[in-house]
Amino acid sequence: MAFQEVIFWVLAVSSVAAALGVVLLRDIFRAALLLVVVFLAVAGFFVMMNAEFLAVVQVLIYAGAIAILIIFAIMLTREVQQGNLPNRLQPAAVLFPVLLLAALVFVAVDTDWNLLQDQSRELQDNVEVVQTHTIGGIPDEMRGDIPGSDRSGLGELLINDFVLPFEIASMLLLAAIIGALVLVRER
């Protein structure tokens, strides 16, 4: 078993266990702490999949900002100890996620994906170059060999192909800031 696989299984088991803890624990404060564990595990997955930038963002935004926000909210609402009761929808809430899980697993396993490992050696090499240069893009001396590499790296994609969603996202964040301020303002 390769080292990578060991890491994967450790992260997978711990993330699933932590996620179960998030939704099942009575103590909501501990649930929030387990959520941080899930976030960090996911950051680990990102690293394993050559998404270092996302891993860093995940740690900063999720494990940092969002987790802190949630803990603040938990403390402000003072229902820490007995705060996480189930409601009356247990049967449906169990049954349908399980069914959906079965369907999703079936799709993931059964589908005939157009996988990278089945492609030509050259394409695999080129993709590897792209994936290992998500930040800053591909160095100039290597560009000649790789088609379409003039827009490589997340930054180039964001300000070229995805510039409109990018701008809309900024509007969304602005709206969210104002909305949150209005919601919690003392009247």
Binding site: V23, P97, L101, R151, A176
Partner: protein, 109 residues
């Protein structure tokens, strides 16, 4: 260890999140469950970007990273959502002294 592993993991996390969002009374747990679902989706997106070759991408390999760009947008939306969601939680708690979603049913009338 390949695409299927990550997809199945993603599905498991998503469905745990879905269960939490559907079955818990505490609105903060619901929000945390939604964050779980977002993370599960992000894992799937990044896994696709890593393992799957879209048709016609050979000539513009830079676009292989599109999945990661999607993940960035998902994180952005999640940040906005959690800010607003917690704002609503605070407002709800301030007005009605509760964080129980079942009691926040004034939409009925």
């Amino acid at each position: 260890m390949g695409l299927e592993h990550f997809l199945v993991l993603s599905a498991i996390l998503f469905c745990i999140g879905l269960y939490g969002a559907l079955a818990r009374r505490n609105v903060i747990t619901v929000l945390m469950s939604i964050e779980l679902m977002f993370n599960a989706v992000n894992i799937a997106l990044v896994a696709f970007a890593k393992y799957v070759v879209p048709v016609g991408v050979e000539e513009q390999l830079g676009r292989m990273l599109t999945g990661q760009v999607f993940a960035i947008f998902v994180i952005t939306v999640a940040a906005a959502e959690i800010a607003l969601g917690l704002g609503i939680v605070i407002a709800l708690y301030r007005n009605r002294e509760t964080v129980d979603v079942s009691e926040a049913s004034i939409m009925r009338r």
